[in-house]
């Protein structure tokens, strides 16, 4: 990738982030249309987006955003109350911006159908607000335009400075080693044209070796025709922000046709890391005075804004994490090494202890780098709730709890789609069909959807609850039998019955909407969550509502496992699946002819799976009551894994398996234990009972 392509990729990524934030903020603003601080924030994002769009020739996006910005600017300046239909137009405009961005990125010739209509809508809105057909026609008389000079004196420099600062900030985000940002300001004499100077020729020269260049022309000094002369330079001031790999002396070569007093060029301090994130904070609101350019102070405000965060390639983070995993293994090896333990030296023991503490601290800190609050994902869901509510015509209130809960960044990225589907499903099918149905059962007209994230037993739970009609178990069973998912002879628990709605092609919805009900969604949700080594739990009470919970591990890189031993080998069972472990009484172990061994627990016959059989391990065959049964929850229901003994519980760093072992479906990964031994992590969903055990009582 060339540097220019890299710069473009960064700009595109940023534009995507701005749009994503816009999508969230606009809904927050819709909820509280009097929050002009938020409107200011939205405006600044849109302004930056316009710059980004235009900088890379996304003119269709640029034009739309330009007019949209006018609308926002009007409301933020006047603090005028926004009428409901205009608010709707503003929210729709964000949708158009999202779609146009996709068209621009994919270089699609056709724009979304809503583009023209929405653009006309915002143009008409701004025209009606200002009472003129174009943005220039605001004055009462021709003469009054020139009377604006004093007003220009206040506003133009501020805009000029804001524009320059934002441009610097954009360049800073693209800055990489070997690049330099320059702030160039020209104060030209009126005879510049006569000396062969032209602003555009000059910019063209700089642009030849620029990675990015942005220039600003304040036109307040241009006179009316009466005083205009084509050979006189009326644009006396100009600012340029240049991103280049050229040294100062090389850039200065372009200035040889100008007098010394006509230009200034200042290298802008770059951020310490390749990319500094915050830029929106840099834009100076109109109500504040813009920072003035003075020697040595060009970037002071920018430095303040950019010091807090840096952007790091997740690949590097993963590498760091892997290295820390190795460090933990090495540290465990030292701590558990018998030979080292035998050395009776206090200083060595203390050093090992200190090493252990430091390693743990490093591990925790590196882990925390991957963790991000789930707030942003929840914020995005507000839009989903709003849109689904409008589409279904159901009044509802959204409760959001536990937004601060942190979750692995990798998982966050994969959570949006399942969450969207679950929320849509909850609104579309969970809540009662209409207000009357709710009133009939004594509920408020307004339904409630609760989105919650919390920690539970070392896992993260993200749940979506509705206070709707709940799941009709009979109806689910009937559908499952109709579709051959079950035979009807099974003795299913409530959770197993609810789990049926997660089966492919299963839907109890009487009608199919474009939101949900096709039965092609929840099974995909289930698959997505299982890919994250999580599971879905459903609780429901008929007439009261349903809660669908996604139970996820804290991170994808470390697993909390129960270490078990069988035939001298150590295996790891993910504790997320473990229900209980016990040594069974002989009386509760049974053999059913043709079906194998079972253990009876609370009226349920749970198949026993001998781990030694699964992996064909050579061992003395013992009876189930002589070993330990670890009862785990799987896709197909509970199973009891028979092992020789429990070793303990431990967090292990997951290591991928080699090609040959990867084919074994019963294993999902490997881990290196503190002793240096390798243990395999069981994929409990793939463990199947061995038919007919030769021994077993009763």
């Amino acid at each position: 990738m060339t540097k220019q392509e890299q710069v473009k990729a960064i700009f595109i990524e940023e534009a995507g982030e701005i749009i994503e934030k816009l999508d969230v903020d606009i809904i927050r603003f819709e909820e509280n249309a009097g929050n002009f601080d938020l409107l200011n924030e939205i405006f600044r994002g849109v302004h930056t987006l316009k710059g980004n769009a235009n900088a890379f020739g996304f003119t269709r996006l640029g034009e739309f955003v330009h007019h949209f910005e006018d609308v926002l600017d009007h409301y933020r300046s006047t603090k005028e109350e926004i009428e409901t239909h205009h608010l709707e137009l503003i929210v729709s405009s964000v949708d158009v911006i999202k779609e146009v961005m996709v068209c621009e990125l994919d270089a699609l010739p056709d724009l979304p159908n809503e583009y023209e209509g929405c653009l006309e809508g915002i143009k008409s809105l701004i025209a009606s607000k200002k009472g003129y057909p174009s943005s220039f026609e605001t004055q009462d008389s021709i003469g009054s335009f020139s009377d604006l000079a004093s007003e220009f004196g206040l506003e133009c420099p501020e805009q000029y400075e804001n524009g320059m600062l934002q441009s610097i900030e954009m360049m800073r985000t693209a800055h990489q080693a070997g690049m330099q940002i320059y702030r160039i300001e020209l104060t030209l004499d009126s005879d510049a044209y006569k000396r062969g100077f032209d602003h555009l020729i000059f910019i063209g020269l700089l642009a030849e070796k620029a990675l990015s260049i942005e220039s600003f022309f304040p036109l307040e000094s241009v006179p009316t025709l009466e005083n205009f002369a084509e050979d006189t330079n009326h644009i006396t001031k100009m600012g340029i922000i240049l991103l280049t790999t050229q040294a100062l002396s090389e850039v200065e070569e372009n200035f040889e046709f100008l007098f010394d007093h006509e230009y200034s060029i200042k290298p802008i301090e770059s951020s310490p890391e390749p990319v500094a994130v915050p830029k929106r904070e840099v834009v100076v609101p109109k109500t504040q005075s813009a920072p003035k350019a003075s020697p040595g102070s060009d970037t002071s405000s920018l430095n303040t804004a950019s010091k807090s965060t840096i952007r790091i390639d997740t690949f590097k983070l993963d590498e760091l994490f892997d290295s820390v995993g190795e460090l933990v293994i090495a540290q465990n090896f030292i701590a558990q090494n018998e030979k080292i333990r035998l050395i009776e030296d206090e200083s060595i023991s203390r050093t090992i202890e200190t090493l252990s503490k430091i390693t743990k601290r490093i591990q925790d800190r590196v882990m925390s780098l991957r963790m991000v609050a789930i707030r942003d994902t929840f914020d995005k869901m507000k839009r989903v709730v709003r849109d689904t509510s409008k589409k279904t015509g159901k009044e509802l209130h959204l409760n959001v709890l536990g937004e601060e809960t942190e979750i692995d960044k990798t998982m966050i990225d994969s959570l949006s789609d399942p969450l969207i589907h679950i929320i849509r499903n909850a609104i579309d099918h969970g809540l009662e069909a209409d207000a009357q149905e709710r009133l009939n059962v004594g509920k408020k007209v307004e339904g409630t959807i609760t989105l919650r994230a919390y920690h539970k037993s070392g896992s993260i739970v993200i749940s979506v609850s509705d206070d709707g009609r709940g799941i009709n178990k009979e109806k689910v069973l009937q559908k499952a039998i109709e579709r051959g998912v079950i035979t009807g002879d099974e003795n299913l628990s409530d959770s197993q019955i609810f789990g049926l709605i997660l089966q492919p092609g299963f839907s109890t919805a009487d009608t199919i909407s474009d939101l949900s009900g096709r039965g092609v969604g929840l099974d995909v949700v289930k698959t997505s969550i299982e890919k994250l080594r999580g599971k879905i739990e459903i609780e429901s009470r008929e007439g009261e509502g349903t809660t669908l919970s996604m139970v996820l591990p804290l991170t994808l890189a470390i697993i909390d496992g129960m270490l078990v031993q069988t035939a001298g080998e150590i295996y790891i069972i993910p504790t997320l699946s473990v229900v209980e472990s016990f040594r069974p009484e002989q009386e509760i172990v049974h053999v059913i002819k043709g079906q194998g061994e079972f253990v009876s627990m609370r009226g349920q016959h749970i198949p026993i799976i001998r781990l030694s059989d699964v992996f064909t391990l050579t061992t003395d065959r013992i009876e189930p009551w002589e070993g330990i049964l670890v009862c785990v929850e799987t896709e197909a229901g509970r199973i009891a894994i028979m092992v020789d003994e429990l070793v303990g519980r431990q967090q292990v760093v997951i290591k991928p398996l080699g090609k040959s072992l990867a084919k074994l479906r019963e294993i999902s990964g490997g881990a290196i234990l503190g002793s240096g031994d390798i243990a395999l992590i069981l994929n409990v969903d793939e463990l199947r009972p061995m038919i007919e055990a030769p021994h077993a009582g009763n």
Partner: protein, 92 residues
Amino acid sequence: MEFDGDALTIDLSMSKEEIKEFEAFVRPRIDYIDRIEIVDGGILKSSALLALLMSLKKTRRELIIPFLEKGVTVSPAYGTIHWICHDKTRTS
């Protein structure tokens, strides 16, 4: 340059000499021109044209010049150029 009724269509890629001719043409007709449009595909070649368009706008505020109102132009040769030709709000 085309003059159709009250709308004038010009090419952005004017040389200094062509800008001079354009100025000479438009000066006596400023009161009869309602709109100045730009031919697609042209690239601004001289800042003098930008200054002239701004001057025309300041001279006759009813004149509609969509290009000027955009406040920004982008080209591979010059990067992004913003101009600030403000009324009460802003155009860039």
